[in-house]
Amino acid sequence: MREIKILPISRLEGEGEITIILDDEGKVKEAFFHVVEFKGFEKFCVGRPVEEMPRIVTRICGVCPWAHHMASTKALDEIFGREPTETAKKIRELAYCAHIIDSHTVHFYILAIPDFILSPGAPRSERNVIGMFKKNPELVKNIVKHRKYIVKIEEIIGGKSIHPVCGLPGGVSKRLTEEERKEILEMGKELVKFFEEWIEKFESLILKNYEKLFIQKDMYYLETYYMGLVDRNNKVNFYDGDIRVVDQKGREVAKFRPIEYLDYIRERVEPWSYTKFPYLKNIGWKGFVDGPESGIYRVGPLGRLNVADGFATEKAQEAYEKYIETLGKPAHYTMAYHWARVIEMLYASERIVELASDDAITSDDIVNYEGEFSGKGVGVVEAPRGILYHHYETDSNGIVTLVNLVIPTTQNNPAINMDVKKAAQHLITNGKVSDEILNMVEMAFRAYDPCLACSTHSLPGGIPLKVVIKNERGEVIKVLRRE
């Protein structure tokens, strides 16, 4: 037996590693995706005044601070018993839609689509965003140009583009001026046009050329449960709603309020991983298997589109219908995460336009100061990569006594492991492992956009990748190094 490790050496919290174990015939016996998860925040925050939480939790990750900020702020709404004003809700959702696009654009355009625009087997030195620029500079220039709009919107509302400080219990700290509203509206319109074009481009540049990779059951395919936030009409909503769970046939099996999440989710620990493995409590843990008997569920763009009955905006709904027509519902294809992501960016843009078109969003009524302190709150939002729970409890002075964070990548962790194993088993035969094969194994987890709370500002850059091949006695017989 020999062991292959795909080992990224990152600088801080969130080290990830893929281990593939081959038997003596060179077939994949097991595959694991490990994450060294940094759970220290849950302990570190105990003893702090709870009102500090929305600012502290943005330090969890440099890529998705808005999701933590917003979930935290919503938990504070409950703790202080303050229902946010209508204006505050609109401003929060507007900023949050911008964040969804911010995160999705980095993942989709910079990290994911080089695999498709340049092919999974393209030389590694070219299979990246720089290689994509060389092939199609205008495509990349346009992406960069539209990202600037997003950063600007986040900055206007959040005070800072990256680590927002705007959330308060019952509202937001700053109102929108009429000039800002107009500016956001114009940028939103540009974004709608851009992502409308990308719905077309996804089909012509990616789906058309890689249909067999997207729509197949040999790998990148799992029949799991799905979980996501929906509005009162069961439409996708990133900011607020109830949590809906559907089964492998798309039937609703649960719908609950955020505060009830512990009645539906349980977490399991495996000895070989630092990360927990959540599953549906009422279905139970049956190991790393899919199907109706297994409580494994998926979250994120694929999960959201599977649990919802569609989108509340016209163009996104149209794109969603095409997606369902092509993939069926629920869509179990892991590569469909990418397609779902593009549709979500269109929806978020349309929602930005809707919200910024509403003159009432500039009202001064941005904070509700009235409420009854409860000392317990669960804030939930759809983070770009799936549903995010922030659960806090405090003593009577508002000092934090309990913090529980359930993050999307943790929830997807069981499925990621299964997807990685399935891809490795399908692709690796007779112990032959090429760069293309390794990349295609990586594509199985890359589709999920897993957030390993990875190093937020790596210097001097480049994440080394090491593949170690060992014999059954543990002796290294070959090392492949990517740097």
């Binding site: 919290e13 502290i56 620029f133 850059g461």
Partner: protein, 154 residues
């Protein structure tokens, strides 16, 4: 010359915050109006997007290199570093990849000169809001280095 100075780090991770502290100290000493100082905890792509429209950027961060002593400071121009952009990270972009992308996509907006100061630290995975004594001693030195090398007259 329009210049931006960006201090990077996580202010809850002890010595990792040294870039932020240097930026704060630097801001206190600067006297000229065309230098903007910012503190960020962001990913590389966002950091470089922040630099767009400036002629020069100075980025201050911590680093962990085994072949450097704790507190040792390295200074380099970003275009002097050659790393092969990795497609592995599922969730983030490294500074060099981000720079190369933006330099190609928006050549008129990316600063002509991007200089990085990196302070070698040994611990960056422990919670704490203070930096260690050895790293504290480096702060003034780096502030002087930046003023003398890159912000003369300020």
């Amino acid at each position: 010359m329009k210049t931006i100075v960006i201090g990077l780090g996580n202010d809850l991770l002890g010595d990792d915050s040294v870039g932020l502290i240097i930026a704060e100290e630097l801001e206190k000493r600067l006297r000229c109006g065309d230098v903007v100082v910012k503190k960020m905890i962001g990913n590389a792509f966002s950091v470089l997007e922040e630099c767009l429209g400036y002629d020069k950027a100075v980025i201050i961060d911590s680093i962990r290199l085994e072949n450097l002593a704790e507190g040792e400071v390295i200074r380099f121009r970003i275009n002097e570093v050659t790393t092969t952009p990795s497609t592995f990270s599922p969730h983030n972009v490294d500074l060099i990849t981000a720079y190369n992308l933006l330099r190609n996509a928006l050549p008129d907006q990316v600063p002509k000169d991007v200089i990085v100061y990196a302070v070698n630290i040994s611990r960056n995975t422990f919670f704490g809001e203070k930096i260690s004594e050895p790293i504290k001693k480096v702060v003034k030195k780096v502030v002087s280095l930046i003023i003398n090398n890159d912000l003369r007259g300020c």
